[in-house]
Amino acid sequence: MQNIDLIILLAGVVAGAAPIVMATLGETITEKAGIINLSLDGTILLSAMAAFAVSFDTGSLLLGFAAAGCVGALVAFTVGVFSIYLGQSQIAVGFVLTLMCRDLAYFLGNSYARLHGPQVEPAPIPLLRDIPVVGPIFFSHNLPVYGSLVLIGLAWWYLYRTPMGLRLRAVGEHPRAAYARGIHPRRIQMIYVLVGGLFVGIAGAVFSLSAKPGWGRPQGAEGTGWIALALVIFGGWHPVRAALGAYLFAFLQMMGIYLQGWFPSIPAQVFQVAPFPLMIFTLVLMYLSRKENFLLRAENRPRLKSILKILSGSAPTALGKPFRPE
């Protein structure tokens, strides 16, 4: 049996969750404006491939990240045009793009498979890294990881503390009312579909240039997009809670590695599956927390009540319903 060094474990969680956090925040922003971008899983792979290919050819990590962001925004743009302007089902377009981008990534990235490419260098922050416990967990990583931490606060501040964020949420909740107040719902939705896609693309770059460096078939980022989509719901469409969900998920994945050390007869893939039933269970609890007769039953059970309180959250009212101006 191996011992768990808690600090190393938590530092690994913070680093490993970085791309998931970015993708989850990007999707939260998009969904807050009322659009579901279901293409995440494919987008992450395609942008991961683009990031690796570009930085391999040019030797510049910055260009790699930029390329990934552009790819993410481009896929999101497709979702936006189809759903906002052509009136097609967001789910259908997103799903087709998920499969297509994944295949496109494998096809175009074929010649870059299993090559040794550039990686983001670790950049511990001086002074802060020497703080006991907190230092190694938060301040001994690389720039993308710090970026993911900053982004959590930034997304929350933007959504809930700025006039632009208010407009964004107004469009997601009640586009008609927003329209009456002189806001263009379609324009706003398109902007945040692009912004969300940009973050998802950068998340892909974080995979292929930092968290799971390199490209191949499979890359190792497969499935992350779907997890990010579930985490948005898990987080009740709140950026901080969604990010916490991403850390919980990364923690469960890390625990899977330890558990595998303890039970070597069970293949690793089984442990990687473990978070999914948990996610479904949480979604059921979230649904029940909105049911009145279930709440009554929970009334004299304080622990259940507090769990339900934490889990409560509701989707933007106009999520998935395209706005059509008269």
Partner: protein, 362 residues
């Protein structure tokens, strides 16, 4: 989105009709050009000669009898899954869990075939195994359905979660209780004895049982969805659940029914993969056919008669692309790129038509 029969009005001037025909072929031409331009662009980007890639796609799928047999063997699970999805789409459910339903069907079939090893009446066991496959897929779909109707979990996320769980189940079985004597590996469980293989016939190496079952599934689906009351009720609930409820239909019950149909067909597809193709359980037993079937149904515009043709075309692309890595050193995922582009182009043309019609009427 739903295909409405075009009412041919005899009194309409011939000019209007020819304009409609012209536009119909114009749209097809536009769709195909979008796909062709995109595919050529992608091939050039990957440094492959486009013309010879298309040639190899064709030669690799319809170039010989054994290739055609391979195509039909792919067509069978694809069409079965797509038929099942017609029920769930009709009621407005996105059954992404179809992939896991194929896998669990395969697991149930394997279970029965394992108990049938060395027993008399192997054919009875094969029949029982296929039936078990359908039941397994149905149970897995029913779980997702209950999560939707009772647990309030969106069927997309419930289905995806169940897919990952099914994949975990298969890996656990292959590496755990059903591991091959000696060493467990990703190549799957041990082969079944020959008498438990689904018999194949002719130079196509195609199983007549699987092929007949698939044709039967298409016919049953067509009758149920187009001419029976269940099809009407599913469409009524899919169109407006509240109104259907007031009309005395219970949406929850019909959702579960649609899920059972979808899961049953998908599970049967999984069972046929085990008993007819691989003769064992392998980790990639579903071969992504469930996900691909969703695209098939979308491209067929939710029309049951178009499903077999679209599935055949998709099967050709899948089989034709297998040899691409050898002859052109490009990845076989070109098939998926073309399939996705095709569906996207159709959606774009649809949206464009709806937009221009609205602009014309107002």
């Amino acid at each position: 989105m739903k295909s409405e029969p075009v009412i041919m009005n005899d009194s309409a001037p011939a000019a209007a009709r020819s304009r409609r025909v012209f536009r119909f072929f114009g749209e097809i031409g536009l769709t195909l050009s979008i796909v062709l331009i995109f595919a050529v662009g992608v091939l050039l980007l990957a440094g492959a000669p486009p013309f010879s890639a298309f040639y190899h796609l064709f030669k690799g799928s319809l170039g010989s009898g054994s290739k055609l047999g391979h195509v039909l063997n792919t067509w069978v699970p694809l069409t079965l899954c797509a038929c099942g999805l017609l029920y769930t789409f009709r009621i407005g459910l996105w059954n992404i869990g179809v992939e896991g339903q194929v896998m669990v069907g395969a697991v149930f079939t394997t279970l029965i075939l394992r108990t049938g090893m060395g027993q008399p009446f192997p054919n009875a066991f094969i029949g029982l195994a296929l039936l078990a496959g359908g039941i397994g897929g149905g149970i897995w779909a029913l779980a997702t359905g209950y999560l939707k109707t009772r647990g309030g979990v969106n069927e997309i996320f419930a289905g995806l979660g169940m897919n990952f769980v099914a994949q975990g189940l298969i890996l656990w079985l292959i590496f755990g209780p059903w591991k091959r004597p000696g060493v467990a590996s990703m190549s799957g469980t041990e082969l079944f004895p020959r008498e438990l293989w689904l018999p194949t016939a002719g130079f196509l190496r195609l199983s007549p049982v699987g092929f007949t079952l698939t044709l039967f599934a298409v016919a049953v689906t067509a009758v149920l969805l187009r001419y029976a009351r269940i099809g009407l009720n599913l469409r009524a609930i899919g169109g407006n659940p509240r109104a259907a409820y007031l009309f005395g239909l219970q949406p929850g019950r019909y959702m579960l029914l649609a899920m059972i149909f979808a899961g049953g067909f998908a599970g049967l597809a999984g069972g046929l993969q085990v008993s007819g193709i691989y003769h064992r359980l392998i980790p990639a037993i579903s071969s992504n056919y469930g996900y691909l079937a969703l695209l098939v149904v979308m491209l067929a515009n939710y029309n049951v008669w178009a499903v077999p043709a679209v599935a055949f075309f998709f099967a050709c692309l899948n089989v034709g692309s297998i040899q691409l890595p050898m002859v052109l050193q490009v990845d076989s995922s070109l098939a998926g790129v073309i399939q996705g582009t095709l569906v996207l182009a159709v959606l774009a043309v649809h949206g464009w038509r709806a937009r221009s019609r609205k602009a014309g009427s107002s």
